[in-house]
C-alpha cells in the first residue's frame, strides 16, 4: 500500500477512501482518527457557510429593508413640483392612501363587499363584487381615499384588503394654469401640457427602471408668473361674460427673452378633474387653434415694406373707392376715400392700403418675409400640442392681397405674437418658451429678421395708433402703450360672415422701449349697449387689453411714466437722431 501511495499520487484519494476508512488491513486507531478528521472538516465547512451568510446579512440588511419598503409604497410615481418664475407652487404631489384587494385571499367576497359598501358608499358594489370574486392576485378597489376612510376600512378587519400610499397630483390654482401645465392620469403620468413634456424628457424612463418613487426631483421652474396669470384669467373671464363671447384668450410675452409670462384660454378646465378637458370647446386656442388674425397682420405687411427700403413712412398709397380683384371686392371699414400715407393706413386700418403695400413688394417677397418671421411653419414649444398653420397651396396675387390684412392665412395666435414681437423688439425673432430664459440665452438663439430702424418705425406706428388711431381705448395712461387692433370675419359654411367676428388686439408696452407684448383675443364677441352696437376689436379687445395692462404692468415691474411726449417726438425723433441703438433682445 505504501509503495503504491509513493509511486502513484493519483491514487491518493482512492487510497484514503479504501484503506483509511474501510480497509481491513489498516490500524483501527489510525482509521478512527481519519474518520474523525473527515467529520471535523464537514462540520467546519457547514459552520463556515453559516458564518459567511451571517456576515452577508449583517452587511446587506439595510438595502433589503429599503427595497421592501420602497415597493409597498407609491405605485403612482412621484413627479417633480412645478413652480412659477417666483417659486410659487403650480403643481405638487400629495400622498394619499389607496385601497386594494388580493382576491385570492378573500374568504367571503359577498360579505366583504357589503362591509366595504357600508364605509365607502360611493363604491359601485357590483363592480367591487366582481373584482373580489375574480381569482386575480391584485385588484384596485378605490384610489385616493381619505385617512378617515382608511381608518374605518382598517377597523372592518377584512382579510385580503390592504392600503398603498400613492402620490396624487394636485393643482392648487385650479383652472388658471390648465392649458399650460396640462394634467396627469390616475397613475400620475403626464398626458398633456408641461406635465407630458416632463415625462417625455426622461422621467418616464426613470420610472420604468424603478427609480423615482420618492420626492427627489428638482422642481421644474417655468417662466410664467402666477399673479399675472391670475389677473389675465380674471379679466378674460369677465370679458367673455360681458361680451358674451364664445371664447377669450390672452398671452403676455416678454419680447426680450421670448418667455411666455402668462397664457390663458377660456373656457378652460380644472386639471384636478381632467375629464373636463375632453370637451372640444375647452381646447387651448392659442397653440392648438389656428385663426385668421385680421388687421394685426398689417403690422407684418408694413414692416416688410419698410424693411425693403422701397417704402418709407412718408410714402403714400391710393385708397380711394374699393379694390376689385376678380369677383372679390375689398373695401375699408373706416373708409377715407383718399390717398393715405403709411401711418394713416396703419391707424385707419385700411385694407386697401395694406393690400397695395403688399402688392408693391411682390408676391414672392411677401411669402418669403412671412416665412422668415415664422408664420408659415408649425411653431413648436414645450407643449406637446401644436397646430400647423393653414397656408394657401397656390399663393397668387389675390392671396397676397388678403393675407396683407390677415385673411386667407390661419396661424396659431402664439405664432403671430412671436412675429409681432420680432418686429417691435429691435428685429429679433425669438422662439417663445414656457421655461425661464435669460436675455443672454435669448440673444444666442435670436435671429435677426428686420432692421432695427424698421423696428423703431413700427414702434412709432403702434404708439401712434394708440394716440389717435383704432387703439385709443387701450391707451393706459402712464405705460405708453402701443397697439394694433384686428378683426377677422369668421368663415361660416364656406363664406365670410359679416356678424360673426374674431377680434384680437396686440399691445406693446412700453412702446418706446418694449418689454412685453400682450395679445387679447375674443371669439365671436356680441355687440352690447356699451359698445353702441359695434363688435370690432377697438370696442372689445382693446378695452380688455387696457384693463389687463392696468393690472399686470405694476406686477411686471413697469414703472408708470406720465407726461411723456407723443410718438413723433419720443420714438421717431430719437430714431432719426441716434440711428437708434436697439435695446438688447
Amino acid at each position: 500500500m505504501k509503495r503504491r501511495r509513493d509511486t502513484a499520487p493519483v491514487w491518493w484519494h482512492h487510497w484514503m477512501m479504501q484503506s483509511l476508512l474501510y480497509g481491513r488491513g489498516v490500524d483501527r486507531a489510525r482509521k478512527a482518527q481519519a474518520r474523525l478528521g473527515l467529520a471535523l472538516l464537514g462540520f467546519a465547512l457547514v459552520y463556515a457557510i453559516i458564518a459567511f451568510r451571517l456576515v452577508l446579512y449583517a452587511a446587506m440588511a439595510d438595502t433589503h429593508m429599503v427595497r421592501r419598503s420602497g415597493s409597498t409604497d407609491a405605485v403612482a410615481t412621484a413627479r417633480p413640483d412645478i413652480v412659477d418664475r417666483n417659486g410659487e407652487i403650480l403643481a405638487t404631489d400629495f400622498k394619499t392612501p389607496s385601497l386594494f384587494a388580493e382576491p385570492r385571499r378573500i374568504i367571503d367576497p359577498d360579505e366583504a363587499t357589503e362591509l366595504l359598501a357600508g364605509v365607502l358608499p360611493d363604491l359601485d358594489s357590483r363592480e367591487v363584487r366582481d373584482r373580489l370574486g375574480s381569482k386575480r392576485g391584485f385588484a384596485w378597489l378605490k384610489r385616493d381615499i381619505t385617512p378617515a376612510q382608511q381608518q374605518e376600512v382598517h377597523r372592518l378587519g377584512i382579510p385580503g384588503i390592504g392600503f398603498l400610499t400613492e402620490n396624487k397630483r394636485v393643482y392648487p390654482n385650479g383652472n388658471e394654469f390648465s392649458h399650460i401645465i396640462g394634467h396627469v392620469n390616475i397613475d400620475n403620468q403626464g398626458i398633456a401640457g408641461i406635465e407630458k413634456w416632463i415625462d417625455n424628457r426622461g422621467l418616464a424612463d426613470l420610472h420604468r427602471a424603478g427609480f423615482g418613487v420618492d420626492r427627489e426631483h428638482e422642481p421644474v421652474r417655468l417662466g410664467v408668473d402666477l399673479r399675472v396669470q391670475h389677473a389675465l384669467h380674471d379679466e378674460l373671464v369677465a370679458a367673455r361674460d360681458k361680451f358674451k363671447a364664445d371664447a377669450a384668450a390672452g398671452i403676455v410675452l416678454d419680447v426680450r427673452t421670448g418667455e411666455i409670462v402668462s397664457m390663458v384660454s377660456v373656457p378652460d378646465y380644472n386639471p384636478n378633474n381632467p375629464r373636463e378637458a375632453l370637451e372640444p370647446s375647452r381646447i387651448n386656442r392659442l397653440t392648438t387653434g389656428v385663426y385668421e388674425m385680421g388687421s394685426t397682420f398689417k403690422a407684418l405687411t408694413i414692416a416688410m415694406a419698410l424693411d425693403s427700403g422701397k417704402v418709407t413712412l412718408n410714402s403714400s398709397f391710393d385708397a380711394r373707392g374699393s379694390l376689385r380683384y376678380g369677383h372679390f371686392n375689398i373695401s375699408d371699414y373706416h373708409a377715407q376715400n383718399r390717398v393715405l400715407t403709411v401711418p394713416e393706413i396703419f391707424t385707419y386700418s385700411s385694407n386697401i392700403g395694406a393690400a397695395k403695400i403688399a402688392l408693391s413688394q411682390g408676391v414672392e417677397n411677401h411669402r418669403t418675409f412671412l416665412s422668415k418671421v415664422g408664420q408659415l411653419d408649425r411653431l413648436r414649444t414645450e407643449l406637446p400640442e401644436s397646430a400647423e398653420p393653414i397656408v394657401p397651396k397656390h399663393w397668387g396675387e389675390l392671396n397676397t392681397v388678403t393675407i396683407s390684412y390677415g385673411h386667407g392665412l390661419s396661424v396659431a395666435p402664439l405664432q403671430s405674437v412671436m412675429g409681432v414681437a420680432a418686429i417691435v423688439n429691435g428685429g429679433y425673432l425669438i422662439p417663445p418658451t414656457f421655461l425661464r430664459r435669460s436675455p443672454a440665452e435669448a440673444r444666442a438663439i435670436a435671429k435677426r429678421v428686420v432692421k432695427s430702424e424698421t423696428s423703431a418705425a413700427m414702434r412709432y406706428l403702434m404708439r401712434l395708433n394708440a394716440e389717435k388711431g383704432t387703439a385709443t381705448k387701450a391707451d393706459v395712461k402712464g405705460f405708453y402703450v402701443g397697439g394694433k387692433t384686428g378683426t377677422a370675419e369668421k368663415v361660416i359654411n364656406g363664406r365670410y360672415s359679416k356678424n360673426r367676428l374674431m377680434t384680437d388686439f396686440m399691445a406693446v408696452l412700453p412702446a418706446d422701449e418694449p418689454r412685453f407684448l400682450v395679445l387679447i383675443m375674443l371669439d365671436e364677441p356680441k355687440p352690447i349697449a356699451e359698445t353702441h352696437g359695434f363688435a370690432t376689436s377697438g370696442w372689445n379687445a382693446a378695452p380688455v387689453a387696457a384693463k389687463v395692462i392696468t393690472r399686470i404692468a405694476p406686477l411686471l415691474g413697469l414703472e408708470p411714466r406720465f407726461d411723456l411726449p407723443t410718438a413723433d417726438h419720443l420714438i421717431l425723433a430719437a430714431a432719426k437722431e441716434a440711428r437708434w441703438s436697439p435695446p438688447p433682445p
Partner: protein
C-alpha cells in the same frame, strides 16, 4: 508552557468574540436608528409637501381676491398711485403745539396738595421733578 499559550489564545478568542458581538449589536442599533430617522424624514417631507400644497391653495390669488372683494373696501390700483420715493415732494412743515406730557398731567391731578407746615415734612423731590 503550551497550556498557558492555549489558555491565552482561548481567552483572547472569547474577548474578541465578545467585542465583535458588541460592535455588531451597536451597529444594529445605529442602523435601526438610521432607518427610523430616514422614515421620519420622509414623513416630515410628505407633511411639508402637504402643508405647502394647502398653503398654495389658501394663498391662491383667485381665492384671496374673492375674499378681499367680499370683506374689504379696497379698490383696484391706479397707475397714478405709483410714484418713486425720491420724486415725492418734501413733507410740508406743520407747526404743532409744544408737546405736553399727558402722564405728568394725570399725576398732577391725582396728587394731593403738598403738605404744608408739618414738622420735618420735606417735599419729595420726585414730585417736584414731574411738575
Amino acid at each position: 508552557m503550551m497550556r498557558l499559550v492555549h489558555l491565552i489564545v482561548a481567552a483572547a478568542l472569547v474577548a474578541a468574540a465578545v467585542d465583535v458581538y458588541k460592535i455588531k449589536f451597536e451597529s444594529t442599533v445605529q442602523a435601526e436608528r438610521v432607518a427610523k430617522l430616514a422614515a421620519e424624514i420622509r414623513r416630515e417631507r410628505d407633511a411639508i409637501a402637504a402643508l405647502r400644497a394647502e398653503w398654495a391653495q389658501l394663498d391662491n390669488p383667485a381665492r384671496v381676491q374673492a375674499l378681499a372683494q367680499r370683506h374689504l373696501a379696497l379698490k383696484m390700483l391706479d397707475p397714478a398711485q405709483i410714484e418713486q420715493l425720491d420724486r415725492l415732494p418734501e413733507r410740508p412743515f406743520i407747526p404743532t403745539a409744544p408737546p405736553t406730557d399727558a402722564i405728568a398731567n394725570i399725576i398732577d391731578a391725582l396728587e394731593p396738595e403738598p403738605p404744608t407746615g408739618s414738622a420735618g415734612g420735606a417735599v419729595p423731590t420726585t414730585a417736584g421733578a414731574t411738575r
